[in-house]
């Protein structure tokens, strides 16, 4: 799809606007993390500000297993199994953290989960067992040179490896899918599976209790629900999927650092994605992340895929770029200054505007416009409302 667009007449525009496939893989696994964050925070109203700890757990588990540093699990352990192990570790962690944290609410809950996560962040950053230089974090070592395989463990025909350099390439109907494209589909498969699992849970009676907790916890208690157990359950489930997301991230990138996995600003990115996409919509955070990454790449420094900067440079031509605007600042210099790598500014402004004016986020607002989820509303519009 991306390739087709690149060969089309609007290729310059397409390359400018669309994120690369590699970025899209990131959108998928981080989107899953953001979805898992939304699962507990958006649906119960308890802001899990230490959610990155589960993401980090998943990421570190995958790498440490591959490096043979986890007891009982050799470097040859199937990737799918390490994902599961990481998820289960996160469940245990979530239950331990949740047991004490869910006695609190509001700001206090956010702070205690943040505290726990930062304790682990600092610990992992200083623990030299995980990596030679724990501050930089671990990378997959020589004991696992092959790519991580997604699919049915042990059945080669049903598994494909992911990674930019280590992934499989697939020839299909005469066209070749690059390793990045294969990674995109395989990671996408897992993310989709996880999304459906969470969606099933949200639409089950269990999920309805979570919503009741968000709306009015006292009433939920009065009706006879043990809300503490429900919250704990939601936290554990959400931790599991956050760890799977972290595992996918580590499997694709083959390295992780405390800063991009355990650190509290990673939770901040999930929060960002959730708000822009729609808090409490489950699928919304994925779109939020897509938006975030698209803007970032659009405004990224020159040389990485497309983006606005090279496009403007090509469009305006050298003469315009060299023209002076204020003092000795040129147009080119000004464009460079305001755009080059400063996507956070624009994402931040959009985020603030969303909090102020679009509190339901992209998906939340669209859903309330069409009156229901798209899966229900679109057929209803097309076929009429006679069902």
């Amino acid at each position: 799809m991306y390739d087709v667009l690149l060969n089309s007449p609007v290729s310059a525009e397409a390359q400018t606007l669309l994120p690369t496939v590699e970025t899209m893989v990131g959108v998928l696994y981080f989107g899953l993390f953001a979805i898992s964050f939304d699962f507990v925070s958006g649906y119960t109203g308890y802001l899990s500000f230490g959610h990155a700890v589960f993401y980090g757990t998943g990421a570190y588990t995958v790498i440490l297993v591959a490096n043979g540093k986890v007891p009982l699990l050799g470097p040859g352990t199937p990737f799918m199994l390490s994902l599961l192990v990481g998820g289960l570790l996160a469940v245990v962690l979530a239950i331990l953290v949740g047991l004490v944290s869910f006695r609190l609410s509001g700001v206090y809950f956010a702070m205690i989960t943040l505290g726990f996560a930062q304790v682990l962040y600092v610990f992992v950053r200083g623990w030299d067992y995980v990596a030679n230089n724990p501050r930089d974090g671990p990378a997959v070592g020589p004991s696992h040179v092959e790519g991580f395989q997604i699919g049915v463990p042990g059945v080669d025909q049903l598994s494909l490896a992911i990674g930019v350099l280590t992934g499989d390439e697939v020839s299909l109907l005469g066209s070749t899918l690059s390793s990045t494209a294969v990674s995109y589909y395989m990671v996408g498969l897992v993310v989709l599976g996880c999304y459906f699992a969470m969606q099933r849970i949200i639409h089950s009676p269990f999920g309805r209790v979570l919503l009741a907790i968000r709306e009015n916890e006292e009433r939920a208690v009065a009706v006879g629900y043990n809300t503490y157990l429900y919250k704990l359950g939601a936290f554990a489930i959400s931790g599991f999927f956050a760890a799977v997301a972290g595992g996918l991230f580590a499997g694709f990138r083959r390295s992780a650092s405390p800063e991009n996995s355990f650190y509290f600003l990673v939770t901040g990115d999930a929060l960002l994605a959730s708000i822009i996409g729609g808090f409490g919509t489950l699928a919304g955070p994925l779109y939020g992340r897509l938006f975030d990454e698209t803007v970032r790449e659009f405004l990224s420094p020159a040389g990485q895929g497309g983006g606005l900067l090279p496009y403007l440079r090509a469009l305006l031509g050298q003469e315009t770029l060299d023209a002076a605007v204020v003092g000795n600042e040129t147009v080119g210099g000004l464009i460079d200054l305001l755009l080059n790598g400063h996507a956070s500014l624009y994402v931040g402004i959009v985020f603030v505007l969303f909090v102020l004016y679009v509190p339901d986020g992209l998906l939340g607002t669209l859903r309330s416009r069409v009156g229901g989820t798209f899966a229900e509303a679109v057929p209803a519009r097309i076929w009429g409302d006679d069902r």
Binding site: L104, G106, V119, V122, L265
Partner: protein, 329 residues
């Protein structure tokens, strides 16, 4: 090994040094946290942008010093200029704080408190990126400390002074002085002025205060402005401290300790914040000593501080001096 270290730790010179360093750290902590606690106490807004604004204060204070100080400026003039810089940073950031409150915080008072967290979190992104752009223009490195600003510090503040058997840095003494002045100033403002009375009344029951004729909205704006101003003053002080220094990551480096201090003290109580700053500062100094002398784990002080946060929330969620009404805000 551990016993040896303990014996060493308990000598007068070592322990004395740890206590003075602890007080100096407490002074910094109280400065970065007091604005946060005033704002939360009155408005229930947990300001995630507090660290970013402290960072802005560090650059602003640094800028004023770099512009006014030259190589030949005598030490006392530098000190005097520094106090001017603190006041100017306080004033400018107060104005910025007032503007932020009236334009974007005010519309959110009717929404659940989570939205204020979200909004101020978004604000940090914007502020930090604007700072990066400005630094770009002047060709400064955003990640590393601003050396030119550090260089405006008078020479004697880099030197140790002997207090009996204890050798401490002049800088530590200077920080303790400024922290004490700040605490005394805030305390006097809160208890001795009419506006302070309104702030305390509004913190307890904003609705009742308004029914007594107090313009609580205006008090909100003033407190937000003052709180941000305090962040700016704290930033200016940190700009001269080599372990902090003016840099973009200073935002996150100050935000997390500030959170720890206000939560441990009890969200919104100024007295609690002062006591918690002492607790946290001392803990920091003690664990830093142990890390430097006996235990090899690099993150020890930071790890222990977060443990203090977690344990406080488990054992006494309302904090040392908080009112027992957890989650009320």
């Amino acid at each position: 090994m551990i016993l040896e270290a303990l014996a060493d730790f308990l000598t007068v010179s070592e322990l004395g040094g740890v206590v003075v360093n602890g007080l100096a750290k407490s002074a910094l902590y109280v400065m970065i946290a007091s604005g946060l606690t005033l704002i939360f106490g009155l408005m229930g807004v947990l300001n995630f942008a507090h660290g970013s604004l402290t960072m802005v204060g560090a650059y602003l204070g640094g800028l004023l010093m770099v512009v006014t100080v030259s190589g030949g400026t005598p030490p006392l003039t530098r000190l005097a200029l520094f106090f001017v810089a603190v006041v100017v940073a306080f004033a400018l950031l107060s104005v910025l704080g007032g503007a932020i409150e009236t334009t974007i915080i005010r519309p959110l008072y009717d929404r659940p408190p989570i939205y204020q967290i979200l909004l101020t979190f978004g604000l940090t992104l914007v502020i930090e990126e604007v700072v990066r752009i400005v630094l770009d223009v002047y060709g400064l490195q955003p990640i590393s400390d601003w050396q030119a600003a550090l260089a405006t510090k008078p020479q004697f503040l880099r030197e140790p002074v002997a207090l009996g058997p204890v050798s401490v840095g002049w800088m530590a003494m200077f920080q303790i002085l400024l922290g004490t002045l700040t605490v005394a100033g805030i305390w006097a403002f809160l208890t001795k002025t009419r506006y302070g009375l309104y702030i305390r009344a509004g913190s307890e029951d904003a609705e009742m205060a308004s029914a007594l004729g107090i313009d609580v909205r205006q008090v909100f704006t003033v407190v937000f402005a003052l709180g941000i101003g305090l962040a700016g003053a704290a930033g200016t002080l940190l700009m001269w401290d080599p372990t902090w220094g003016a840099s973009v990551p200073l935002a996150a480096e100050t935000l997390l300790p500030a959170f720890i201090v206000v939560i441990v003290g009890g969200l919104g109580t100024f007295r609690g914040t002062v006591v918690a700053a002492l607790v946290v500062g001392m803990t920091d100094a003690v664990t830093t000593w142990w890390f430097q002398n006996a235990i090899e784990f690099t993150g020890l002080p930071e790890l222990v501080l977060f443990l203090v946060l977690v344990v406080t929330l488990i054992v006494r969620p309302q904090g040392l001096f908080g009112v027992e009404e957890v989650g009320g805000h």
